[in-house]
């Protein structure tokens, strides 16, 4: 892939949407500030200029109406990409998502189709406090009927978005604000990757081993993948060889990738920016307990937001979101045993 151009995650996402809009006239975009502004986090940048306001629609602040409308438009044959500006705002429109978008296919006995991509920003680390910093994918993975996509870099973001738009099922596509490559928010350099110009897909339910290793498995998503990779770099200097698994999609979940890695390393850390209780870390630990318990040399370690809302003040927020240091220390403790 020498000389391939590199993109930020935001550009990779908007390029994916643009290519699908060119390919399929049924695809259209709607949401708050997605047109003229180009999306607060740039996920729809350049689209209205290319496709006009009929296909890239700014909406009123009426999430129940426009997300419900996306469901209805999908049922009627369109393929909407609808943006919920921050996932934290789910509260005002949850019924349309949780009781309708997620369940309609099942309740129709598989006869109705709802090819909606519900795209949303998530994540903290920049002091935006309790109502603008959550990741919450665990909440949406919990209800059956939504595919859950959570990319960690630009290459994955494009391929997963194209798969999402082509999927005939509702897909929730979470992008972490701190990975988008914005000019106004710090981001890990590694999120900017070479991205092929032509359209390509990445299948759901296939985890990516972002770093192979033999001593300890670290399972993560989004920003925590990047932090796990940073931790793995430090650990390598100390002779600890960590394997970093990026799940990429929570639903469907690549159980085999986790189990196979644990069979190799015999040690597991699950890192999550979501709340610790009743979430992804517990799910992964349970899967390993069910299917690979005998392979574990030590109890599973879970790093996640202790069950408190995300606090505003910097020292408080840094305390609750798993850090590179915390991941490294967890690995050191496990490997020492």
């Amino acid at each position: 892939m020498a000389n391939e151009r590199e993109l930020t995650m935001a550009k990779a996402i908007s390029e994916a949407i643009a290519q699908e809009m060119e390919r399929d006239p049924r695809v259209f975009v709607l949401g708050e500030d997605v047109a003229v502004y180009g999306g607060i986090f740039g996920a729809t940048q350049g689209l209205v200029e290319k496709f006009g306001p009929d296909r890239v629609m700014d909406t009123p602040i009426s999430e129940t109406a426009f997300i419900g409308a996306a469901t209805g438009a999908a049922a009627a044959g369109m393929r909407p990409v609808v943006e919920l500006m921050f996932v934290d705002f789910f509260g005002v429109c949850m019924d349309q998502i949780y009781n309708h978008l997620a369940k309609n296919t099942y309740m129709s006995g598989g006869n109705a189709r709802f090819p909606v991509v519900l795209m949303t920003a998530m994540g903290g680390g920049y002091n935006d406090a309790a109502q603008h910093s959550q990741v919450l994918y665990g909440l949406f993975a919990h209800v059956p009927g939504l595919k859950i996509v959570v990319p960690s870099n630009a290459y994955d973001a494009k391929g997963l978005m194209i798969s999402a738009i082509r999927d005939d099922n509702p897909v929730m596509y979470f992008f972490h604000k701190g990975l988008m490559g914005l000019g106004w928010m710090k981001y890990p350099e590694r999120t900017i990757t070479p991205v092929p110009e032509k359209a390509y897909t990445i299948p759901f339910g296939v985890a990516d081993i972002k770093r192979p290793g033999k001593d300890v498995t670290i399972v993560a998503l989004a920003m925590m993948v990047q932090r796990a990779l940073d931790a793995a770099d430090e650990l390598a200097q100390e002779g600890i060889d960590a394997e970093v698994i990026d799940l990429r999609t929570l639903v469907p979940l690549d159980r085999d990738a986790v189990i196979n890695s644990v069979k190799k390393t015999h040690k597991l850390i699950v890192v999550d920016e979501d709340y610790k209780g009743f979430g992804m870390t517990g799910e992964i630990a349970a899967i390993v307990a069910e299917s690979a318990l005998d392979y574990l040399d030590a109890p599973v370690k879970r790093l996640a937001v202790p069950n408190v809302p995300i606090p505003y003040s910097r020292p408080l927020e840094q305390f609750v979101i798993p850090s590179v240091e915390a991941i490294g220390n967890a690995a050191r403790q496990l490997v020492k045993k």
Binding site: E32, P60, N127, W184, M185, V308, Y312, S313
Partner: protein, 328 residues
């Protein structure tokens, strides 16, 4: 409604307190964010929504309110908080993430709670209408003449909670006043592109309650209209819906490139500044001298400087405090 000299001077001082507070914050916000802007850096990180230019709706309304009356603000809350009497020190300290802040640094600028002054706000658009109904319901159940005021932007008037709350308040004849502050913009979306009618106050008719629009960014005009709405509510005659035209001087949030906004819009708005307007109204009434006005302005400036100093010199909370206060 005739305002006394002291009332006028106190409102004028409050206008300046808000203006200085927002301007000082705008400057503090940029500390640590140059040359490369990073939203998470500096003494005041995160999103910052400032209300300079929008003083009249807050000051003209809250001049009618008592401590027991409830105000629910928005994600752009400082002008409401200051007008409601929230102590400047604790307000500033919260925004700087300090232990001495209103919420011990846990809430931040969009999530302010002052139990003593019955003030709160939220970062979720349209979230303020229902709890204001609840405060009004509580006053009614307890036999008090307290009222509740929910402020919200014109963008929020398209949220379902607005319409549900209006119906509930009208049905139960609650002592609540819904105030839409119409600054023309909801981030990049102008009112005409988000709302099917030009004047939100006309929506009151759909719920059988009074609706009035104040069509200028004028503190005394707001005061006048709110006088009737608050008195009605205190008399037990039910809710009102008021829309007030106002002007947003800063970006939606600090760091907003505002590419959607006509370049000279703000400078034109500033030519009609509401603080200058109030000064000339006071002078025209002969209610105060220029020297008295200047003294009020200087006092406001000193108050804000003191609050910022308090915030800056206060300690941060200890990291482990993050684990406290989920429950009482």
């Amino acid at each position: 409604m005739k305002l006394s000299r002291d009332q006028l001077l106190s409102m004028y001082r409050q206008m300046w307190t808000i203006r200085f507070f927002e301007d000082e914050l705008a400057a503090a916000y940029m500390e640590g964010k140059t040359p490369a802007f990073d939203i998470g850096s500096g003494p005041v990180p995160g999103e910052m929504h400032l209300a300079a230019g929008q003083e009249p709706v807050a000051v003209g309304t809250c001049a009618h309110l008592k401590k027991q009356d409830t105000v629910v603000g928005t994600h752009r809350p400082h002008h409401f908080a200051i007008a409601k009497g929230v102590p400047l020190d604790k307000l500033a300290a919260e925004i700087f993430g300090k232990e001495t802040g209103l919420g011990r640094g846990k809430g931040g600028h969009m999530h302010l709670f002052d139990v003593e002054h019955n003030f709160s706000c939220s970062g979720i658009i349209g979230a303020g209408f229902p709890p204001a109904c609840g405060a009004a319901l509580a006053a009614k159940k307890m036999g008090k003449d307290w009222v509740a005021v929910a402020f919200a932007g014109e963008g929020a008037a398209n949220q379902g909670s607005f319409h549900e709350a209006l119906n509930l308040a009208a049905l139960w004849q609650l002592p609540v006043i819904f105030i839409i502050e119409d600054n023309s913009w909801a981030i990049s979306v102008p009112k005409g592109k988000s709302t099917s009618i030009p004047d939100n106050s006309t929506r009151a008719a759909g719920y059988g309650i009074p609706g009035v629009r104040v069509d200028e960014n004028d503190t005394l005009a707001v005061y006048e209209v709110l006088g009737e709405a608050v008195a009605r509510a205190r008399r037990g005659e039910g809710p009102s819906l008021i829309e007030v035209k106002t002007d947003r001087y800063y970006g939606h949030f600090q760091g907003d490139p505002e590419l959607y906004r006509p370049k000279d819009e703000v400078s034109q708005l500033k030519a009609n500044d509401p603080i200058q307007k109030l000064a000339s109204q006071i002078m025209a009434q002969g209610a105060a001298t220029q020297a008295e006005l200047d003294a009020a302005r200087d006092a406001a400036k000193a108050d804000v400087a003191g609050a910022m100093e308090f915030a800056r010199t206060s300690p941060y909370p200890a990291p482990e405090q993050a684990l406290e206060n989920v429950f009482v």
